[in-house]
Homo-oligomer: 479 residues x 2
Amino acid sequence: MPKDTITPRSKDYAQWYLDVIAQAELADYAPVRGCMVIRPTGYAIWERIQKALDERIKATGHQNAYFPLFVPMSFLTKEADHVDGFAPEVAVVTHGGGEELAEPLVVRPTSEAIIGPSFANWIHSWRDLPLLINQWANVVRWEMRPRLFLRTTEFLWQEGHTAHATEEEAEEEALTILHEVYADFAEKVLAIPVIKGIKTDREKFAGALRTYCIEAMMQDGRALQAGTSHNLGQNFARAFDIKYQTTENREEYVWTTSWGVSTRLIGALIMSHSDDEGLVCPPALAPIQIVVVPVYKGDTERTTVLEAIERIIAGWEGRFRVKLDDRDQLTPGYKFNEWESKGVPVRVEVGPRDVEKGTVAVARRDVPGKAGKEFVPQEGLVDRLATLLEDIQSSLYARALAYRDERTHDVTSFEELKEAVEHGFARAYWAGSSDDEAAVQAETRATVRAIPLEQPERTGTCVSTGRPTSRIAIFGRSY
Amino acid sequence: MPKDTITPRSKDYAQWYLDVIAQAELADYAPVRGCMVIRPTGYAIWERIQKALDERIKATGHQNAYFPLFVPMSFLTKEADHVDGFAPEVAVVTHGGGEELAEPLVVRPTSEAIIGPSFANWIHSWRDLPLLINQWANVVRWEMRPRLFLRTTEFLWQEGHTAHATEEEAEEEALTILHEVYADFAEKVLAIPVIKGIKTDREKFAGALRTYCIEAMMQDGRALQAGTSHNLGQNFARAFDIKYQTTENREEYVWTTSWGVSTRLIGALIMSHSDDEGLVCPPALAPIQIVVVPVYKGDTERTTVLEAIERIIAGWEGRFRVKLDDRDQLTPGYKFNEWESKGVPVRVEVGPRDVEKGTVAVARRDVPGKAGKEFVPQEGLVDRLATLLEDIQSSLYARALAYRDERTHDVTSFEELKEAVEHGFARAYWAGSSDDEAAVQAETRATVRAIPLEQPERTGTCVSTGRPTSRIAIFGRSY
């Protein structure tokens, strides 16, 4: 694993991204077009993402369930906007068990259309509401320009699906997920600052009333939609006849929501924090938080050093996620490079001199080279490491936030907007239509990434139409 | 949820099985032929199964990864026996992204054929071995006679795939999984006694050298294959050109294994312990171990009782998995029935009299009715409940083991075998061929479920061929 195989970011950001993935052994392209193989290092990150999200999803009252992979074609077509949005992207099973099927089955691109009939069966009265369900699953959307983690034909995700008695409750649910699950997770665990906003009609989910999103800025200034939460109104309830009896014995359609995040978050992670040495993983997420590397020559030193390490790390279990790299045939330098490229937040080195002096060397991944390395006493090491991990976590967040703020510009003219989205986000008053938005995109390759939920209390002039408006939008080029 | 909708086991075992699933809300048939919807109560059980297995899989040195859902048809055909075994059962994607595909894609029925190319890429030298990978995934095998959990077109499972330098290491791996992962899990968590054995050639995995299995007896005397572990020899290494450089710089094919258990285990769970009241879940597995039901009339009693419960269960978190059922609109009797049908091992009832007297009522699910209920002091309750949960766990195992032993008969003639498999297992000396085995099946509907790894040190006469042999086989009718 020679280190110089990572292309510098400054030279070619897209190639750098692929090199980081290859070097950290996160994923490979599969021999099936558009699909990926998630390798153990990458999957361990996904497991950590799953755990942190699953805890938040359950803490907000949801239960996991599992619905079929296959959706009969006729189900997908029940909601008109939904089928328009997804039909061009689906994979279709036409044969099963050696025979041609009477009705083709679609491999789920999302599960509203197969969950609908179950909800219709399960929900009878107001007592059955709210129904709060989540599913961890694979989905398939045919991808013409695949890119590892960001756009793959098959990807892994969670999709929440809920049903409520009133529009207000559905709206509250969609926003709870946005704030308490997605934004909280992105900011506290991934250390990625996100803009919480609403999508324009042009960008919303096929079949939704309103789509809320968390939107992040990558290191190249481009936007990445990191999660979406949809208030589906009664659209799917009507399409799948999901009704309930009210406390006054009337029959009403329920109000539903759906919401999801996917393995795309691993792409967001890579492009938020990593550097030319490879992946940088925030401690709250990292499958391995601290790697301990013994430094020795010969068997006597080896024994001394490994005995000292055993003593030093006794009691770390349950406190930190630790890996002792005691592989014999590899040099310390090789190991340093490997764990650096895999993003482990902290490296502890122990050599014979450290054993003598009661010290260890501690290197923090977010500050490369000598600046990030210091020799510290073994005494009090646990507390020092705990503080260091917290510091790395908050530093990564602060750095990403400062970067985003630097690259976000208030613009008042179309020319300024065009200039701003070359390197980041443009913040502009916006009162345009979907057509106006399309015109902006044709000219600048940028779209409205979000109408932020937090809006200024002033008014201004729409950057496109010149109309007065109090609404600010964030424009950016997106992944 | 009226209780009398569970058909008694004595009347119709197959209907009882479906009634238990419906009553406990474990799963539904989906509107897609052969597929199921796993409902929250059922999925919570699957999550507990996943957790217990995943811990064991990781403790034995394996890492999780994820491979594509789709397998190009040409890959599946690379191993001759493998394609013969699986081709008739596959679902085939012929269209994607609005176009007909140049090569059809098979929805994975198992992943050897899509993992092979990755292993060939990742493995170069002996240093890369052993490669120990596991995947949690959905798979599809077209099912003509679906049965919830036991045989569904789509099911969830884990599939382990490993590569080794030598035949001995592959064999050791296959057996480690059988003993330390599958049998240990089945016996300690599911409380299901299993026979560890090897499959005959007729019953082994398509493409395997040897298939090991754990085999359980259900309450109707039929056998259920609960997990399999395959030594694949060099068959897949040859088919996918998976080679490594030995320490002596020779190129050799690796030796591979694969092994899996699935949502079928939930079927095994149901048919091992449950009764005419519904599901019985062993405490080590149960998503909810103890349900606490307040018993009161009117608001004053309600307050008194709920305050007492709050005091009683303080400190239970982290010790037990507890549910407080404080739903207001339902009677205690309704709640008792619901949690009984869902298999919760222990119910604690607290009423106003209990509050006065410092007692609670404790009912154990595995002993229905009054016999399983007692009033005990609140003092020392935690230790008492911990002991009770352990007792239920071991009682369920002992009961299932005694049942299996009662229904397993040593047979020396074909007539005895035929009689024995009507109600359970037949244990017989066996030296027959695959054709002999087919003849037995045609006559008795029973097959060799396993050649147990533990064999007697005596010899006898083959029940079919009359040849002398030291090999004992277990015959049974199977799910």
